[in-house]
């Protein structure tokens, strides 16, 4: 990576590797994602896309290499430390607070960013800013009518929307979305694409996605991950035209795009 890239990049990976036992899952990934870009990571199952997200967000430590957020090294930080620095992620398998209401889910997601930390001297009901921010997000993800419902009782599509809501509520400027449309119908998918476009406006977005329709619709640039290595990075039309990608992967792209 050039020095210029590391200054401007919102998220930068340099020589990132990860092994589980003797198996190397991520085999040296270099990636620089400039501020404000919508970046999609595609690749066949088992390519290491979710693992890469887990390394970036601090769920697992990287075996080697460096990960920088806005130029700052976050490689060895814990998930909550990375989150406090302005990176937030969603999960492929819905990861919400099941027994809390939808509104409480969102309020929990904004408390730290508003500076309430571990306070036991503020009354939640008195925190107008937290309530307002949670209600804004509630409105944005279209769940206002479900405000008081326990999150565990929502439909799958509603839970996925809440998942995105929790991810963006804290105001992070780098957003990682792990398969936001997985398991959704066509109309639900269109809805989510619209939602993602709206709530991540002006932010840096990195997403893992299998639905090629969604990828080519949303992404400014695409990286193709195959066997833990970046095969190619470029604009959607470049990726379509890339010979190596065609050889390794494009059949699937056409297939997916066709039935998508």
């Amino acid at each position: 990576m050039s020095a210029a890239a590391s200054i401007t990049a919102a998220l930068e990976l340099a020589g990132v590797r990860k092994s589980f036992g003797n198996t190397e899952i991520i085999r040296g990934v270099d990636l620089a994602i400039p501020r404000g870009e919508r970046h999609a990571i595609i690749g066949p199952n088992g390519a290491g896309k979710s693992t890469l997200f887990n390394l970036i967000s601090g769920r697992f430590p990287a075996s080697r290499g460096a990960i920088r957020l806005n130029g700052e090294d976050i490689t060895r930080l814990k998930p909550f430390q990375i989150n406090r620095k302005g990176l937030s992620r969603s999960f492929q398998i819905t990861n919400i607070f099941h027994n809390l209401s939808v509104f409480e889910n969102l309020r929990c997601a904004v408390l730290w960013s508003l500076g309430y930390r571990y306070s036991f001297w503020h009354r939640l009901a008195g925190l107008a800013d937290a309530r307002q921010r949670a209600d804004e997000v509630l409105e944005a993800i279209g769940l206002a009518s479900r405000r008081e419902r326990p999150a565990g009782l929502l439909t799958y599509a509603e839970q996925r929307a809440l998942e995105i809501g929790i991810t963006i509520a804290g105001g992070a400027d780098v957003i990682l979305l792990d398969e936001p449309t997985a398991g959704m119908s066509r109309s639900e998918t269109d809805h989510v694409v619209e939602l993602v476009r709206r709530v991540t406006a002006g932010k840096t977005l990195v997403m893992v996605e299998h639905d090629m329709g969604v990828v080519f619709n949303l992404a400014d640039r695409i990286s193709v991950l195959v066997y833990g290595e970046v095969l190619a990075t470029g604009k959607p039309e470049e990726i379509r035209a890339n010979a190596a990608v065609q050889e390794a992967y494009l059949g699937t792209i056409h297939e997916d795009a066709a039935h998508a």
Partner: protein
């Protein structure tokens, strides 16, 4: 900005609670009733503090008596120093000393126990409980050995005419601290830390990804919980004027788990009910029968099997039925099931008490009294009666239960239909 409409319902409930606590000793004036009420007040604080961990934060502790017990020990030493005039400490503020002591040990032990949640947490609390209990035998200067540390709560000049000698004065001291602690713990459950404790209970991983260090959330919660446990410990020290190793024992820790579970851990008021029932079982029932532990164990088993949400959930289950106006139609079913249940209970009590008399207590003869009726436990007639009660009661109960379940199911379907 901060304007909140006054929550009338909440004020009514708290007002009624305060009123109830104030008038109860005027209605039940016997010494025994005052003792019972005092112990209930202490148990309410202790059980609510325990439920901050179990119900609110998902931490199953097997060593909560460590904090109440050590709080009690520090309190008893401070009380003894105060009565010698070596430190200034009015009796009414002693619970604060116990609370701070509890919180101090919460800082110390909690840092280790809260590093992990789930089974690991439970195991470490068990270990620390055993550790502190074994210390109580190793350091007799502090723990008083097998005899414990005794004290006298009456010292110095009366404060506003209060000597705290009579039990009823101690009751009101306990009641005041109990009310304040209940209010404070309720308030805690509506703070950022309280809500994040719920979040960490539900999904610790997600809590980390919205910026929270789950270890700190659990640790700070435990410190506050230990503070209230310490208050309960100091009040127990004032009430009994003795603190023994039993105060830090696994029996105490298990008891509070019992109480919280019976009452119901998912609702704030559940442990209050559980604490009162538990104290009633332990104090009142143990006066009447040697088999009280057996009854307590059976009751606990029935609760776990048939009402895992505790008594609080049984009450809350009725609310939608009442709102729908169908509670009245269930009442005859409840009455029939209850009456049949009483027959089964009578059969159980008769069998258990006669068995105890014959097998454990037969040295003084087999004549016994139950509910004012004298009879011979070795005779055939009482056993035959027990058998009949079992059969008739069991049959009636089964019938009533099936009809109750049927009626309940119909009403639930009706409510679900109205919602859809």
């Amino acid at each position: 900005m901060r304007y909140q409409p006054i929550n009338l319902g909440r004020w009514l409930i708290w007002g009624a609670t305060a009123l109830l606590m104030a008038v109860l000793p005027l209605i039940f004036t016997q010494g025994f009733a005052i003792t019972l009420l005092s112990q209930m007040g202490i148990a309410i604080i202790f059980t609510l503090s325990y439920n901050m961990l179990l119900g609110q934060s998902g931490m199953l502790s097997f060593g909560h008596a460590v904090y109440s017990g050590l709080g009690a020990y520090i309190a008893v030493h401070v009380l003894n120093l105060a009565s010698k005039g070596q430190v200034w400490m009015p009796l009414s503020l002693l619970p604060l000393v116990g609370g701070l002591a509890g919180a101090f040990f919460g800082v110390l032990f909690g840092y280790v126990t809260t590093k992990r949640a789930g089974t690991t947490f439970a195991m470490i609390t068990l270990g620390i409980g055993e550790l502190v209990f074994s210390c109580s035998l190793m350091f007799p200067e502090f723990f008083g050995g097998e005899g414990g540390i005794t004290t006298n709560r009456v010292f110095g000049q009366p404060f506003l005419g209060l000597t705290f000698g009579p039990g009823v004065q101690v009751y009101y001291l306990i009641a005041l601290w109990c009310l304040a602690s209940m209010a404070a713990m309720y308030a805690w459950s509506h703070t950022p830390l309280g809500r994040m404790a719920n979040a960490v209970r539900d999904n610790p991983e997600r809590a980390e990804f919205v910026g929270y260090d789950t270890h700190k959330v659990r640790w700070f919660t435990l410190i506050i919980s230990a503070f209230f446990a310490g208050i309960a410990g100091a009040l127990a020290c004032i009430n009994f004027e003795i603190v023994t190793a039993e105060n830090v024992s696994a029996i105490r820790s298990g008891g509070v788990l019992f109480a919280a579970f019976i009452g119901g851990v998912t609702f704030f008021f559940g442990p209050i009910i559980g604490a009162c029932l538990f104290v009633y079982f332990v104090v009142a029932l143990s006066d009447h029968t040697k088999a009280w532990l057996l009854y307590l164990g059976l009751f606990f088993m029935l609760m776990v099997m048939f009402a895992p949400g505790g008594i609080a959930s049984l009450i809350v289950m009725q609310l939608p039925v009442i709102a729908r106006g169908r509670f009245r139609s269930l009442l005859p079913h409840y009455a029939r099931t209850g009456a049949a249940g009483l027959l089964v209970l009578a059969a159980l009590v008769l069998t258990v008490e006669m068995t105890y008399k014959v097998s454990v207590d037969s040295a003084n003869g087999t004549a016994m009294t139950l509910l004012g009726v004298d009879f011979d436990a070795a005779g055939t007639l009482p056993w035959a009666l027990a058998g009949v009660l079992w059969i008739v009661g069991g049959w009636l109960f089964r019938r009533a239960w099936l009809r109750l379940s049927h009626a309940w199911g119909e009403i639930q379907a009706e409510i679900a239909g109205a919602r859809a």
